[in-house]
């Protein structure tokens, strides 16, 4: 079966760049803490897409398994760290919510100077 069109590395990079842009935009514009966390996850996943794409296109006709899977392995660790970060974030927000009764980060303005 012929592919409808060739998907090259560039397409993946554009997708990941768009994901990263969406993540940064979310972080900068959202006021809800959970919304910002979603932005962070978008950014981390953009990095994951990059790793998978580079791995696929740099090593696509290799016979070696010693280095040919580095990018994939890295992505697994990114998933894990993203999960750990989400857990820490939820704990911090829960704490924050118990004191401020909101997850709107702009309500937190006690510290200034």
């Amino acid at each position: 079966m012929n592919p409808v069109f060739d998907i090259s590395l560039h397409h993946f990079l554009i997708v990941s760049f768009a994901l990263a842009g969406a993540g940064v935009a979310t972080i900068l514009t959202k006021r809800n803490a959970i919304g910002i966390l979603i932005g962070v996850e978008l950014l981390l996943n953009a990095a994951g897409v990059n790793f998978i794409a580079f791995n696929k296109f740099l090593w696509h006709n290799t016979t070696s398994t010693s280095t040919g899977l580095d990018g994939m392995v890295f992505t697994i660790f990114i998933i894990v760290v993203a999960a750990a970060e989400a857990a820490v974030a939820l704990a911090i927000f829960l704490n924050f919510y118990n004191n401020f009764s909101t997850v709107d980060v702009e309500k937190a303005d006690e510290l200034k100077g």
Binding site: L13, M72, I76, I79, A83, L94
Partner: protein
């Protein structure tokens, strides 16, 4: 070597025609159905008709309720096991390719069991911390 900007210029948009056609069909199908049912269907209004559930069930509370905090704690604990699978999966795909009588078999299994054991310790810790206590 790899700069992304020129790509958009050189990519022929004809490549995306198929995707465009698919999108078009989806939009036409969705909007078409709405329009047709609006035009051809009978329209009656009323308090009973406007209820949330057409089955006759009466809604009792607003849908947007706060979840109990303990669900978030359970969600965090779930993450531990969720993430464990991520590591088990690549291991599980390579493990069968080892030879039957290879001495590496025990080693590989032992490593993964050790890893699972660390998760069990996390589980015990959460238990002692009272995560699974509902009262």
């Amino acid at each position: 070597m790899i700069l992304m900007l020129p790509v958009l210029a050189e990519a022929s948009f004809n490549q995306f025609a198929v995707v465009g056609v698919l999108l078009l069909i989806a939009i036409v199908f969705g909007v078409g159905n709405l329009v047709i049912s609006k035009l051809m269907g009978p329209s009656r209004e009323g308090p009973i008709k406007g209820l949330v559930y057409e089955s006759g069930m009466n809604p009792i509370t607003p849908a947007r309720r706060r979840f109990n905090v303990r669900f978030y704690v359970v969600a965090m604990t779930f993450l531990v096991f969720d993430v464990e699978i991520v590591f088990l999966y690549p291991w599980a795909t390579t493990f069968p390719s080892l030879a039957q009588d290879s001495p590496l078999n025990v080693l590989f299994l032992g490593r993964m069991l050790f890893f699972v054991l660390t998760t069990v310790i996390a589980f015990l810790y959460a238990w002692r911390k009272g995560v699974f206590r509902y009262d």
